[in-house]
Point group: C2
Chain length 141, copies 2
DNA sequence: GTTTAATGAAACAGTAACTGCCACAGTTTA
DNA sequence: TAAACTGTGGCAGTTACTGTTTCATTAAAC
């Protein structure tokens, strides 16, 4: 992983959870962007993914904005990770094996198993952390 | 993670283990590159890192080449991962927090804990897989 | 109804990092 | 002394994310 989409998505979600956004007091991509120190478009791009994953809802038009689609304790960091990136944590090669080399011929499957193992392991770890856990750790002062 | 340095490094190490390379029959970066379908320079760049980490030894000059520095069952995928990349699996933002926002101010530490957790978890997982395990799974035919 | 304040989406330049490639210096052995 | 390696630096090509602008669309508010 090189990009910060997961980190930004978690930030977005934590603000939504912490501020208890809902109809009547929706959060805007502008305010989110200012909290994250980025551009509203960047926020909207990620919010689009979170919306597809049914983690947030967004409303167009005046006094529109963004809110959580579920309660914060029903959203895990795994949900957010899956929504924000389609990449795996590790990456295999995509070249054809060299036929005359047994290692080269086996490498594809061997690496796939390793990568899948790390991925599954990490997702299980992230699944145990809920958005509510995170929001509760924000120091209020 | 976006790059394939870990995958290539594991491939290098597996060939060395599988072929039982040692003085008298060292492996060259040329042969490794052909098994991996890449350039010898790419191999040598990664071998340099593996050498620094004391996982392989390389010898210059005619009939020089590369061998494992330890037995394959004393080398874990964690060792190889640490040697081949200094990046973390996930990445935090590096911007200053927005002072007026409690979430923004707490986010740095919150994300650090999450990222460290995933990292530790994954390294523990990789530590359990040895190079010998991998080499043993190469289908010999 | 018209204005206003949002999201959504497309396009584009800038940036950063890895990959692949070349050239060549340094080294060791035969 | 020639041959065969590694080590290293540099550079072009590629790819992907980030930041930004712009504009269409939508919906509430007045």
């Amino acid at each position: 992983m090189v990009d910060q989409r997961f980190a930004v998505s978690v930030h977005i979600m934590t603000v939504l959870a912490f501020e208890n956004c809902s109809r009547g007091s929706l959060m805007t991509s502008e305010k989110l962007a200012s909290s994250i120190r980025t551009n509203p478009t960047v926020v909207r791009r990620l919010v689009a993914r979170l919306t597809d994953a049914n983690l947030v809802r967004s409303y167009k038009g005046k006094s529109g904005g963004i809110e959580l689609a579920r309660k914060a304790d029903e959203i895990s960091l795994r949900d957010i990770y899956s929504a924000s990136s389609e990449k795996t944590l590790l990456k295999a090669r995509n070249k054809r094996p060299a036929r005359q080399c047994p290692v080269s011929c086996s490498m594809g499957k061997l690496m796939k198993d390793v990568i899948d193992g790390v991925e599954t392991n990490s997702m299980d770890y992230l699944a145990k952390i809920s958005l509510a856990d995170l929001a509760a750790k924000v120091s209020k002062e």
